[in-house]
């Protein structure tokens, strides 16, 4: 059974002059998921998100959010989407409380009690002007403005950028405790922060989606394999392409297996490397997955 996608992009291209920021990107965020959208700097994450929010128009291809073409996002659809971005330009001259008061009538589902609770939890200075706040505090204001109407989709674009650990924790608390039943699309470099809540991951490189799957599938098929051989190790010439980052030192040979299968791994290793003393296959944290994939993408090992 397939789950309906709340966010869908099909072969989307976006060019800025001669530069193709997105090159046929496709993406699907299943309903109820927490989708970690990861990639190196300049990979096209922010461009994709701005395109999904109709802040940018695609050069080619189509994208939809909640079943509506992003070029035709109506106020009714936007009223169900929460958005927080490190670049979000909030009205600097308005006070925090004034801005919340201003936003309320636009959202039929705005919950005053929830707003109060969020503001209290995030310790927002309601009387101060937004322009006078620190970057971290402004991000918290953006979160406070994105949750009280209980959005069905929450899009977070580098929400932790520039935040100290305390604010980051407060942000995550606010998010996890108050967001409720929501589909989330999070783009972040703070992989440690989002790993625990992510159910799906999409890895983008140079404007293309290289890997997109559920965290459980990814965790199951990606393993950091460490082999102790009977003899000194060397990187074989005919290394399988699904083995990334091969390293040999002493009798130890290590690599990242992107098609891990417990059943035939030992057999394949022995066939390629000879007698084996010990095989150790460990699941990888998201940070390591990211660095491995990013390096492989940079080196052209995956396309």
């Amino acid at each position: 059974m397939t789950t309906a996608s709340v966010v869908q992009a099909d072969d989307v291209w976006k060019s800025f002059g001669r530069i193709d920021a997105l090159q046929g990107l496709s993406l699907a965020v299943p309903e109820g998921s927490a989708y970690a959208f990861i990639g190196a700097n300049g990979a096209g994450k922010t461009t994709t998100i701005k395109l999904l929010m109709n802040m940018l128009a695609p050069s080619r291809g189509t994208a939809s959010v909640m079943g509506v073409d992003t070029r035709r996002l109506s106020p009714e659809v936007l009223a169900q989407i929460g958005y927080v971005s490190e670049n979000q330009a909030l009205p600097r001259r308005l006070g925090v409380g004034d801005y919340l008061e201003y936003l309320r009538p636009f959202y039929p589902g705005w919950d005053r009690a929830l707003e109060t609770s969020i503001c209290k939890r995030l310790q927002l200075p309601l009387k101060r002007r937004i322009g006078e706040l620190s970057h971290g505090m402004r991000i918290k204001v953006a979160l406070a403005c994105a949750l009280p109407y209980r959005p069905k989709l929450l899009i977070l674009d580098e929400p932790f950028s520039g935040l100290d650990p305390l604010v980051r924790e407060e942000f995550m608390e606010g998010l996890l405790l108050e967001a409720g039943d929501v589909t989330m699309l999070i783009s972040s470099h703070e992989l440690g922060e989002i790993e625990s809540l992510s159910t799906h991951v999409g890895f983008i490189d140079a404007g293309r989606m290289l890997i997109e799957e559920s965290m459980s599938d990814l965790g199951a098929r990606l393993r950091e394999v460490r082999i102790t051989l009977e003899h000194p190790a060397a990187v074989p010439a005919n290394l399988p392409k699904e083995w990334l980052q091969p390293r040999a030192f002493g009798n130890v040979f290590s690599f990242v297996d992107t098609r891990y299968s417990e059943n035939d791994l030992g057999e394949r290793i022995r066939a390629l490397l000879g007698p084996v003393r010990h095989i150790d296959a460990e699941p990888m944290p998201l940070r390591t997955v990211f660095t491995t994939l990013a390096r492989a993408a940079r080196d052209g090992a995956i396309q």
């Binding site: 929010m53 971005s85 909030l90 004034d98 936003l103 009538p105 636009f106 039929p108 705005w110 919950d111």
Partner: protein, 576 residues
């Protein structure tokens, strides 16, 4: 908790209230500035204000303009349109509501106060409600056209006040540069540039100006709509620049189509049917001054400007070998079939000199002139027309037999007398000229007459000082800036227009004695006539054999001779 979105009007009002919370000091400054300016203008009535008051008005106007520019730009840029980081873009805010909120701000903080302040000023000046309201609304519309909408268009294309100001300056100077380049191409080897258009200072100037204004209106509205509903800044900026180029060059469109359009607006085209123009070679004048004495100028200002323009052009054209300018050509004309009681105004004369093989040696314009009520009873008049032909053309072709083609654009004006005004009067209501008042000027040399109206004062009036009991009159004085703008298109930023005329009480040269001087003003009255266009029409005159040397005027400043006595060129005929 509500479940339905609030209605559009409510949301527009909600956005406006948010803007007001942020920008109320500028809003108050705008409203206060309007009221203060209206009050200052009221106290400067009816005659020209003192220098101090004028300077105060200028300062208040400057401050007001700055406040209004800041108000419009900041209000629009609370939700800046260019860019991809603005928070409002991800909010469920209808673009229509946003635009309505900004329009509401324009109406309530800028145009509403303009109308209100002008209504107050009009009431204080004693004008009745309907004309004041009409004039105030038109004034507000004019402000929107030339000020608010262009400022709003710039605001929707930029993200900050600094960017808006710098962009406006950049666009202005770029367009100026384009204009200079175009002029440099059209008029090479000149040191200065003439920015005038062919219809400037003529009655038909309104046609291209109106078209230009329509372009401006369309462009600014299109830019604003494009930005709010499509958010395509690149396209909108191109449209803005392209539109301004069209706006800038529209008044450069040629004379002939403008006058053709003007002819559609003739109130009584049949009035001109009998008029014809002929060349009258038997009447030969060599003295330009004597020739000019034959007819009276209706549009002195216009004439002076035309002459100055022609002189400037001539000055900056490539000089002839000896560096001397040629004397003017004086063309004796015979107008016949002139209707009694009307004034004929020559709006424009296009002339073309063609040599024997059909090459155009020169094309230009002749001087404007007027024929007042035909005095000789048979509906004819015998004026001379001055043709200023460049020296190099005269030098090259003075003795050649040429064909002279003239195309006249003409207007018949019907005078309409208003009730007389006592020479020394406090303000008195006039039906068409508005409120008029008179006083002796500081030096006692002239009677100053000032008329003002809610809306437009008639563009062409004449005044004459007359002894109430008798028929003695001082010379008639015209105050004409002819313009034929149809009533619905007559509007200006100032809803109260002035007309100031000075009636001299003695001849400044001392050559003529004026019957009514300062001592007789108590029993004198001012007769005011308004001139309204009756018919616009054109005539062509072709003189198949014309020798420039035969018709050169002898003027003290020139040394070009005339041997007109030998000339017996055949007469041309006019073609209606």
């Amino acid at each position: 908790m509500s479940t339905n979105p609030a209605p559009s009007r409510a949301m527009a009002w909600h956005i406006f209230r948010k803007d007001w919370k942020l920008l109320w000091p500028l809003g108050i400054a705008s409203i206060a500035g309007q009221v203060l300016l209206a009050a200052l203008r009221h106290y400067s009535e009816p005659f020209s204000a003192s220098e101090g008051l004028q300077a105060t008005c200028a300062l208040v106007t400057l401050g007001l303009v700055i406040a209004m520019v800041l108000l419009i730009v900041l209000a629009v840029q609370q939700e800046a349109i260019p860019g991809v980081d603005q928070d409002w873009l991800v909010r469920p805010i209808r673009r229509r509501d946003l635009l309505l909120a900004k329009v509401l701000m324009l109406l309530l903080l800028i145009h509403g106060p303009i109308v209100a302040a002008n209504l107050l000023r009009g009431f204080a000046d004693g004008f009745p409600f309907t004309p004041i309201l009409h004039a105030a609304l038109l004034s507000s519309y004019a402000c929107a056209l030339v000020f608010s909408l262009p400022v709003m268009a710039i605001a929707v294309l930029t993200r900050s006040v600094t960017e808006a100001i710098l962009s406006a300056l950049a666009v202005f100077f770029s367009l100026l540069l384009v204009r200079l380049l175009v002029l440099a191409i059209l008029y090479p080897f000149t040191h200065t540039f003439d920015f005038d258009h062919v219809t400037d200072d003529t009655g038909v100037a309104w046609i291209w100006q109106s078209l230009s204004m329509a372009v401006l209106l369309l462009v600014t509205v299109a830019v604003v709509l494009l930005q709010y509903f499509r958010r395509n800044t690149r396209q909108a900026r191109l449209l803005f620049i392209g539109g301004f180029l069209v706006f800038m060059f529209t008044p450069d469109l040629p004379w002939r189509p403008a006058f053709a359009i003007q002819q559609w607006f003739s109130a009584n085209p049949d009035a001109a049917r009998s008029i014809s123009i002929a060349f009258d070679p038997a009447r030969h004048a060599t003295d330009a001054a004597a020739a000019h004495a034959d007819f009276q100028l209706l549009t002195e200002d216009g004439e002076e400007k035309q002459q100055k323009k022609a002189e400037n052009r001539k000055k900056h054209k490539k000089k002839s070998a000896d560096g001397e300018d040629a004397p003017a050509i004086l063309l004796p004309l015979r107008f016949s079939g002139l209707p009694a009681g009307l004034v004929l105004h020559v709006d424009h004369t296009a002339l073309r000199l063609v040599d024997a093989v059909g090459n155009t040696l020169y094309h230009g314009t002749g001087h404007v002139f007027d024929l007042p009520f035909p005095g000789n009873g048979d509906g004819s008049a015998l004026p001379y027309q001055t043709l200023q032909i460049p020296a190099e053309v005269v030098q090259q072709a003075a003795d050649q037999t040429l064909r002279l083609e003239l195309e006249y654009s003409l207007t018949l004006l019907r005078p309409h007398a208003l009730p007389p005004l006592p020479a020394l009067s406090r303000e008195q209501r006039q039906s068409e000229a508005g409120y008029c008042a008179s006083r002796i000027d500081d030096g006692g040399a002239a009677l100053e007459v000032s008329c003002r109206a809610a809306g437009n004062v008639p563009p062409c009036i004449s005044m004459v000082l007359e002894q109430a009991a008798g028929a003695r009159r001082n010379p008639e004085k015209f105050d004409c800036a002819l313009e034929y703008t149809p009533a619905p298109l007559q509007f200006s930023v100032d809803p109260f227009e002035h007309s100031d005329t000075e009636l001299p009480l003695h001849d400044p040269s001392g050559a003529v004695h004026y019957p009514i001087d300062k001592t007789q003003l108590r029993d004198a009255q001012i007769l005011i006539s308004v001139y309204q266009p009756e018919a616009h029409f054109s005539r062509q005159l072709v003189i198949p054999q014309f020798r420039l040397r035969d018709w050169q005027a002898t003027a003290p400043s020139t040394d070009g001779g005339s041997d007109a006595a030998d000339a017996t060129p055949p007469a041309g005929t006019s073609q209606p």
